[in-house]
């Protein structure tokens, strides 16, 4: 855009930028500050914004072995979330890439309809699915298991991974596979020797999305889990307000710890996230 370079214009610009930064950072920043404050400081009125001394007790308890109370459950929730999000990511990348290959390179009757159908599932509200999913898992005796949560996460994330990988595959020229097949490579072989290696950015973007979505997932985890055997960190934190009562510091610390993986992943790999979000959304 054509810029009017008046000093008022620049000042207004930077003021707006600062405002946006503050709006983004302040709420989360306050959560972080709360998590390292002493309860005494947080509960005085008028509030002292900067703690006079740092309280790292909760963080120590979360990451140390053999702690008790809420922070022990938080640690277990953290591990559960890691396993569930990780497992879901791996499965989604594998199954999703293969499915995307089918939609990109193969033909069968009803292909377009199937694809549209898969995309439509993204708009189904969780609540309509969760009731029968609960009943199915109950009948399969999979309630309160890590496997159930992984399967649920996969179902919600697969359409997105298929969509993303499809757009990446479409940008790989088909000649490469044709050359390989003339040289005797099987169709199946071309997938793993040609297409996948060329799609590592797509896999990275899909993987990061899948992980973050699975990590942040709450409702299905809430319904399908009942004990620490399968509760994710999101579920554990949601119980804080009733369980911990008024231990605001522990709650804030739990919130910060739960946020670290997805936030760090998103900040470090932001390029992939932006590419993923805009894939297909902006084109045409």
């Amino acid at each position: 855009m054509v810029n009017r370079n008046g000093s008022f214009g620049r000042f207004g610009l930077y003021a707006a930028v600062v405002l946006v930064c503050v709006a983004i950072l302040a709420p989360f920043g306050w959560l972080i500050v709360s998590s390292i404050s002493y309860r005494v400081d947080l509960t005085t009125v008028p509030l002292k914004w900067i703690p006079q001394s740092l309280n790292l007790q909760n963080y120590r308890e979360i990451f140390a072995a053999g702690s008790g109370g809420v922070n022990a459950s938080l640690k277990i929730g953290l591990l559960n979330s890691l396993v569930i999000a990780g497992g879901s990511t791996v499965f989604c990348l594998l199954a999703g890439s293969l499915a995307a290959y089918v939609f990109s390179r193969l033909h069968f009757r009803g292909k377009n309809a199937t694809f549209s159908f898969i995309l439509l599932t993204q708009f189904m509200p969780m609540i309509v699915l969760i009731i029968p999913i609960y009943m199915i898992m109950s009948r399969l005796r999979l309630l309160n298991t890590i496997l159930a949560l992984v399967v649920a996460d996969c179902a919600f994330t697969l359409p997105l991974v298929i969509w993303l990988m499809l757009s990446y595959f479409e940008s790989i020229p088909r000649d490469l596979e044709e050359v390989a097949r003339i040289d005797g490579c099987s169709r199946f072989g071309t997938i793993f020797r040609i297409i996948m290696p060329l799609s590592t950015p797509g896999l990275a973007a899909s993987g990061i999305f899948a992980f973050i979505i699975a990590w942040n997932e709450f409702f299905s985890a809430l319904v399908l889990s009942s004990t620490l055997r399968s509760k994710t960190i999101s579920v554990i934190i949601s119980e804080y307000s009733s369980k911990v009562g008024v231990d605001y510091v522990a709650m804030a610390a739990g919130g910060v710890v739960a946020s670290l993986p997805p936030v760090i992943l998103a900040l470090v790999f932001q390029k992939y996230i932006v590419e993923g979000l805009t894939a297909g959304a902006v084109k045409g």
Binding site: L13, V17, V20, M124, V128, I131, A258
Partner: protein
Amino acid sequence: MPRASFAKARSSLLEREGVLAFLLLAPAMAVILGVLIFPMVSSLGLSFTDLKLTDPSSGRFTGLANYAAASRDPMLWAAMGRTLTFAVTTVTVETCLGVLIAMLLNQKFRGRAFVRGLVILPWALPYVVNGIMWKWIFDANYGAFNALLSQLGVIGEYKIWLGDPATAMVLVIVANIWKETPVAVILVLAALQSIPKDLYEAAAIDGARRARAFFSITLPMLKPIIVSLLVIKTIWALKEFDLIYIMTKGGPANGTNMFSYYIYQHTFQFLNFGYGSALAYILTILAVGMAVAYMKSLKGGPDVES
């Protein structure tokens, strides 16, 4: 010749497209069919029964009784009204803010890359953490919002923000806006960056002022992405659950009891699986209906053969 027999052996089962397609799609479709499609169908069946988990003799086929009851359920209509308020407000504000902030981030300034990166933070935050963060900020006794307002002299004493149905709804809307605006910013920014600069140069040569350029060039070029955002965000707003569960549990006095939470209450608290399924189906028809209409309007839906 070895090559010929090699080729013959290769035209095995895996070379037939149909078979290969089936095999490769199998893992993904197994999960999607099992966890999404089958439950969808099963839900429909459930909605035609009077299943209550508290009543062992329930589960009889009742046809459209649940749907009829839903149309006469005043609490459902109230919940839908609140959902509408929530959806209209959040979607409008998020999209407008998205456009404004994207335009801001499209300007040249120092540290632009850093700020663009920062925008992702609310998106990445888990829904639960977003809920407890805002609940803590608006806490009646020790919340930062109360502290800020009273230290600035705006209010005399601390208010119980989440204790009043109207303000509770406002706060839930604020929390949602904070979390969901980044998506709008990122998408609009990408769209802005794809607008050819020559258009603006030509307009400048023709003497058009910035406001004119905005309305004649920028806005029309942004129309597709803005429409996409409006539709998708509305569907998301209809489904909103996590935030309500964490911040207000539908209260106070049902002030924030929106559609999804109302369904949750009937299913998992009152254990009315039959009625809950019917309600859930109504929501699904709304959400999927909007999605279908939108996809059709994109000229025949997504094209797999490009």
